[in-house]
Amino acid sequence: MTTLTADLPTNYLTKEHTIASWLLTKDHKRIALLFFASITFFFFIGGFAATLIRLHLVNPAGNLLQPDIYNRMFTMHGIVMVWFFLIPSIPTTMGNFFIPLMIGARDLAFPRINLGSWYLFNLSGLFLLYCLFVGGVDTGWTFYTPYSTLFANGHVIPAAVAVFVNGFSSIMTGLNFVVTIHRLRAPGMTWMRLPLFVWAIYAVSVVMLLATPVLAMTLALIAIERWMGVGIFDPSLGGDPLLFQHMFWFYSHPAVYIMILPAMGLVSELITCFARRPVFGYSGMAYALMAIAVISFFVWAHHMFVAGISIFSAVVFSLMTFFVAVPSAIKVFNWTATLHKGSITFDAPMLYALGFVGLFTIGGLTGLMVATLAVDIHVHDTYFVIAHFHYIMVGGTVSAFFGGLHYWWPKMTGRLYPEMWARVAAIVTFLGFNLTFFPQFILGYLGMPRRYYAYPPDFQVWHVLSSAGASILAVAYTLPLLYLGWSLIWGPRAGPNPWRATGLEWLTSSPPPQHNFARTPIVKAPPYQYNPADGSYVAQDGSVHA
């Protein structure tokens, strides 16, 4: 690191150089980078599993991998991507790095808990790797009973323990954010002046705090049931397998919003900055985030429409699901309206953000199809559902993650990334993504069930298209690793505010000093005071820039 930033004033990267200064750091920015390293590692493990799955499915007979290996692969892909990449992705990295900066604080409220969260995350990762090395687990990421407790021949207990521990990492992170956002806002930073990313992280932290413990308990019960050979959810011993599903989805449906809410907040930052105008309907956007966080708890049983819940409750949950779509729809329309009368540039973060809006809209609308009871009967547990949630999670969250990464890269590293390469990567991501997952909608409606290692030959053409798309996507996701890495050394120096953005994080130097601000900023303006007509803007400290 010395060579990179030697000529700069001391910042959080150059303050100390020992390994211990990283491993024992209490600086939220360094912890964010530690999380970056961990989740990137797991992203590529999960991506590797996905690659194998897509390669395997090119051939309908499915003879590349053994059935048991294939089953372990999709399980590993699910567990890794959900709990070890998507859920921690934006909050632990960009949330950790930028929440204190954006609210004008010197650090998170509990730096030690923050560091502890990273260690717990890695501990849970070790459990998962252990599980992987001793043979993996084959239950699917949903751990449905009684398969997971009685019949699975994989290593369910280490996997359950991994997710259990991971849950506490996520609780610690959420707790830190909630308390920080409540208590450490700079003077003048009222709730209605918070950037939408902060709102989103707040909403997601509430969900993490209140949903994750239920998952922890559920998985503890699964592990105990399997370990002790007792029947908590086993129907032959009086248990109710649907009770497991209720408890699992009580967490795991809100978990979908844990993944998408930070992405929504992030994209709001990007679109307003690159459209150079205030976000359309700020308060509506903020309330919509909170509404999604709350209503997401009322809809979990829409994963169980064909599972044997009562008909009446299915109707209730379907209706609630239509209601949760309302705040999401508000957000999509407001993002679109934010382009109106803007002065738009199409830099890479903006391309990712627009890609997000498009893919999220497709994912959301197909989500409403899946929420319609009768249609769900046909498409449930088919590739239609797979395509739907990948549009949300990969098309949505991962696009936003890359968008945010590019947007804040200059702030985090002090270097500019190569713009042309980044635009290429953004466009290739969008195209590759659609080629991968759009055919899966068709496959699903044709009746291709999920989690099949072999399938009727009629479906082959769609699978081949999807696999071809996946290979493009693999390239598109590797590209940033290369050129961002390149920019660390050869990238041009970034000034404090290369995007001419309004947030407090841009008021300090790039990279920021150890405690963020030389003097605690006083907030005098709402966020996003851009003027598209003359390109001027008002930063949140009230300073006017022509």
């Binding site: 109710d240 649907l242 209720h246 049983a301 044997g308 819940i309 009562s310 008909i311 209730v316």
Partner: protein
């Protein structure tokens, strides 16, 4: 907050005494034949005791504050789990709970 003058301890001792009384009541009720009201009485008593602990021993007394919201949030959210699953459990016929 001058040294040597702690808050009056009376509220705590009274709270403690009431809770011990409630414990006695709970044990007593166990031996009464009140049929399906057992859980109502027992959990009612437990909720009262919990309220005393929260308000007196965990110092939720006093003017409204953020602590109240945080303290209530868990219980409030738990109602979602209990309440909405009841929609299924009360109307499902498959599980032997008819």
């Amino acid at each position: 907050m001058s040294v040597g003058k702690p808050e009056p301890i009376a509220p705590y001792v009274i709270g403690w005494a009431v809770m011990m009384l409630l414990l006695g009541l709970s044990v007593l009720s166990a031996y009464l034949d009140i049929g399906i009201f057992h859980p109502v009485v027992n959990f009612g008593i437990a909720a009262t005791q919990a309220a005393i602990i929260f308000i007196i021993f965990m110092r939720l007394r006093g003017r409204p504050s953020l602590k109240w919201v945080f303290a209530a949030a868990g219980f409030f959210w738990l109602m979602f789990l209990y309440g909405i699953s009841t929609v299924d459990y009360a109307t499902r016929s498959g599980f032997p709970s008819q």
